[in-house]
Amino acid sequence: METAAFYIFATIAVLASLFVVGQRNPMYSVMLLITSFGALAGLYVLLDAPFTAVTQIIIYAGAIMVLFLFVVMLLNVPREEPAPSAAASLLGPTGLKIGAVLSALLAIEMVWALSRLPARSFNPGQADQVSDVGNIGRMLFTQHAFAFEATSVLILVAMVGAVVIARREH
């Protein structure tokens, strides 16, 4: 049951992400990315992280993607112009060679790292501790309080910066 749910969510996430990258219309890309984030929220539920799943939906699908939608609609550039020439783009022979080497390196690294993974299995008794929202809040406001305050300053700076950058000059 859990394995089936994992494969369903994983397939949705991978396919939606592929279509986001393959899509020429940014409007559809944003919609497909919301689908992908929904599937990832399902995976977080499977990982005993319901709080993270809900924040994923509210912050990512609800806030960040709406911001993207606003900009796509505001700029009104539905289609991306075609590539100038195949040789100049990254799909030319040199680009393909570099890409192949990088993908091979990533694959080798992943196989190496995963084969060294300790065979320790998850202890089901820890599930309550991991999924407990009270536990997350306690850790966030005690041990990680400084990082929490730093991110609030970061958000403020980003907000001021965004307003200044996007403002029309007089």
């Binding site: 996430a13 940014p26 993270t52 960040i64 320790r120």
Partner: protein, 100 residues
């Protein structure tokens, strides 16, 4: 019971898709969306590994990554708007004034 390896491989696939998007797309908005895919792949790794070792630290880092992603999206989209106003295009090839 899905083993940790499956989650890590899924995360690797999503990260690779995001990287390919950053390099192949010729639209600044799609490039920003690809960066969001990469951030989410990393979030999945954090949550999966955090659960494996039985702490909430993975979820807390995910929380911070989401905050930084929100800040990045706000500033990135403000830059996209400013650039579009400047050149009437979203192609990254149009903005090469700083290229050496």
């Amino acid at each position: 019971m899905v083993p940790l390896t499956h989650y890590l491989v899924l995360s690797g696939i999503l990260f690779a898709i995001g990287t390919a998007g950053v390099f192949l797309r010729r639209n600044l908005i799609t490039v920003l969306l690809s960066i969001e895919i990469m951030l989410n792949a990393v979030n999945l790794t954090f949550v999966a590994v955090g659960r494996q070792i039985g702490t909430v630290d993975g979820q807390i880092i995910t929380f911070f990554v989401m905050t930084v992603a929100a800040a990045e999206a706000a500033v990135g989209l403000a830059l996209v708007i400013a650039l579009f106003r400047h050149r009437e295009t979203l192609s990254p090839d149009a903005f090469t004034s700083l290229k050496w």
